[in-house]
């Protein structure tokens, strides 16, 4: 038990810092607290996104649509059946989970870019449907959604979403550290080899998609009940792009990296947006440039940077060492990559 806690000490410190942050000046200002809420929400989504992109190596480019579907489900259940939000959120989980399951089934045969595009198209179709069935969703006008609290303060929302982010992280981390996690990585690296060594790609891919979308939908429900208005735009590709940027800047395949990247990302773009409002769009230009630079020069992202630093520090006798399994490219691959030079 102590070993378990000791291994999680970094997480504990980070959580403590995040919990205290909105009480410390200057972060106790309402707009900073709002940024913290957005950051934690994006962090949760980035974790769920990375669970697919960083492990089974499929970029779910329709991510926002599944998250948004969860939001709509939760909102509609509260509105029409008057259920408490805490309960209706699970309608969001269920709907997003079902959609994730179906996407998993449909994209089963595709790899790499084909799977990403298939998920994207499904997301776009979902967005179109949501926009068009206006008797239910009120289309582009948007749904008025009941909120969690009747207060104007962002503080309670922040603790709610922080807890949700933590649950997302712990559950998905536990899955990736179980046998399933190994299977995910095996599938992500080489589907044929994984199949040959007895891993059933079908089952694990569907499981992965379903789990990831369930958490996306759950956090989507929070989004709905936080903003109080829900339009189909929440499902748009640009939303997926935000999550993707956080996940890739943070570093794929670590879960915590994407979460960690979400906070500075939201703060810097929000700061740019509010302080340089003479230059609309500048925040996103910076955002895009950051993504390009990281992908070109340091594709491992923030997580790899931390690993690199820690590895150097841990090269002391008696401490657990991280063994870096260097990739051994096959001859053909090496020739090709050499040709690229």
């Amino acid at each position: 038990m102590t070993a378990f806690l000791w291994r999680r000490r970094g997480l504990g410190v980070a959580l403590l810092a995040l919990a205290v942050l909105p009480l410390v000046p200057p972060f106790d200002a309402e707009n900073f607290r709002r940024w913290l809420v957005i950051s934690a929400l994006l962090a949760g989504w980035a974790i769920a996104f990375d669970f697919t992109a960083g492990y089974i190596n499929v970029v779910n480019f329709g991510f926002a649509a599944f998250a948004g579907a969860g939001g709509y489900a939760s909102a509609l259940v509260t509105i029409h059946y008057g259920l408490p939000i805490w309960v209706s959120m699970f309608a969001g989980v269920i709907l997003a989970g079902i959609l994730g399951f179906l996407t998993g089934v449909l994209t089963l045969r595709f790899r790499g870019i084909y799977a990403a595009v298939a998920a994207w198209f499904l997301g776009l179709a979902l967005l179109g449907i949501t926009r068009n069935v206006s008797p239910i969703t009120r289309g582009p006008l948007g749904l008025i959604v009941p909120t969690f609290f009747s207060t104007d303060s962002n503080l309670p929302y922040y603790y709610v979403v922080l807890a949700m982010m933590l649950v997302t992280y712990l559950v998905l981390k536990a899955v990736t550290e179980s046998r399933a996690g190994l299977a995910f990585r095996a599938i992500g690296q080489n589907m044929e080899a994984a199949r040959a060594s007895g891993v059933n790609p079908t089952r694990y891919r569907i499981l992965n998609f379903t789990l990831s979308c369930m958490f996306a939908g759950w956090l989507g429900a929070f989004y709905a009940h936080y903003y109080a208005i829900l339009t189909p735009d929440v499902m748009a590709t640009s939303q997926t792009v935000q999550v993707l940027v956080a996940a890739y800047l943070g570093g794929r395949g670590s879960l915590w990296g994407p979460a960690a990247a979400a906070f500075p990302l939201v703060f810097s773009t929000e700061w740019l947006r509010s302080n340089l409002d003479r230059f609309p769009g500048l925040d996103l230009v910076v955002y895009g440039l950051a993504l390009i630079l990281v992908m070109v020069y340091y594709p491992g992202g923030f997580a790899e940077l931390v690993h690199a630093i820690r590895d150097r520090r841990l090269r002391l006798p008696g401490l657990r060492m991280r063994t870096a399994a260097a990739p051994q490219p096959g001859e053909a691959g090496a020739v090709l990559s050499d040709v690229r030079e």
């Binding site: 260097a326 990739p327 051994q328 490219p329 001859e331 090496a334 020739v335 050499d338 040709v339 030079e341």
Partner: protein, 236 residues
């Protein structure tokens, strides 16, 4: 014509070639022999500019070409027939040959090369409008050699011409190479088929685990105890 000095090369963390030195003189037909994984192909790829050498020097006609990009190496007059042939499978035989003369600006010179290749391999002339991907193994090999010749190289590098061919076809390809050499072309050849190769070449190097263990005339190598034991033993 070609001088390789103390060449080191490999992939990732794996060093495949350890300090190889070899030399090919004008007009010679030289073979690089050795078992699978000895580093023969890697050496050839280094010369052709497909793999970047780690250390050492490669000089062609006195100029250092080590680490030069493959297209530039080709432009200097070094043609490569690789192990996997690297044909353009979606193009016709004719188009493949035309691509071989990509860096030859004179139409007249291209036409003469084409006539020469067709006379060397009449089979290719018959297959002219066919897609390269639909050719048989032997025809592909001929096409690859033909494509390399189209650029009018002064040095031809050939990687495992016998690979995947029936003995009879192998002999045909070997005959063609011998004929090219007799016409004055300098050729460096990589082979595993030691018996047949030693019958044809002028000189050879034997490469084992990335190092040259033997070198000399074909005659001398055929009589060497090591070659007899390791490579000819089964057949003799």
């Amino acid at each position: 014509m070609l001088r390789v000095t103390e060449l080191d090369a490999g992939y990732g963390f794996l060093r495949v070639v350890h300090g190889i030195s070899l030399q090919v003189n004008q007009g010679e037909l030289v073979a690089l022999l050795g078992p699978n994984g000895a580093g023969k192909s890697t050496t050839l790829k280094c010369i052709a500019g497909l793999v970047r050498p780690w250390k050492g020097d490669i000089a062609f006609r006195g100029h250092s070409i080590g680490g030069l990009r493959g297209d530039l190496v080709n432009g200097l007059g070094i043609g490569l027939v690789s192990e996997s042939l690297n044909l353009f499978t979606g193009m016709t035989v004719y188009e493949n040959l035309l691509m071989g003369a990509y860096s030859v600006p004179e139409a007249e010179k291209r036409r003469r090369s084409l006539d020469f290749v067709f006379s060397l391999f009449p089979r290719l002339a018959e297959r002219r409008p066919q897609l390269a991907g639909t050719l048989s193994g032997g025809e592909r090999k001929m096409l690859a050699i033909g494509r390399a010749l189209m650029g009018g190289p002064s040095l031809l590098l050939v990687d495992e011409p016998s690979l995947g061919l029936a003995p009879k076809l192998t002999q045909q390809v070997f005959d063609a190479l011998r004929k090219l050499s007799d016409d004055g072309l300098t050729i460096l050849l990589v082979e595993q088929n030691v018996t047949a190769t030693l019958e044809m070449v002028d000189r050879a190097y034997v490469l084992e685990q990335g190092e040259i263990v033997l070198e000399g005339s074909a005659q001398k190598l055929s009589e060497s105890e090591h070659v007899k034991d390791v490579y000819l033993g089964v057949m003799a």
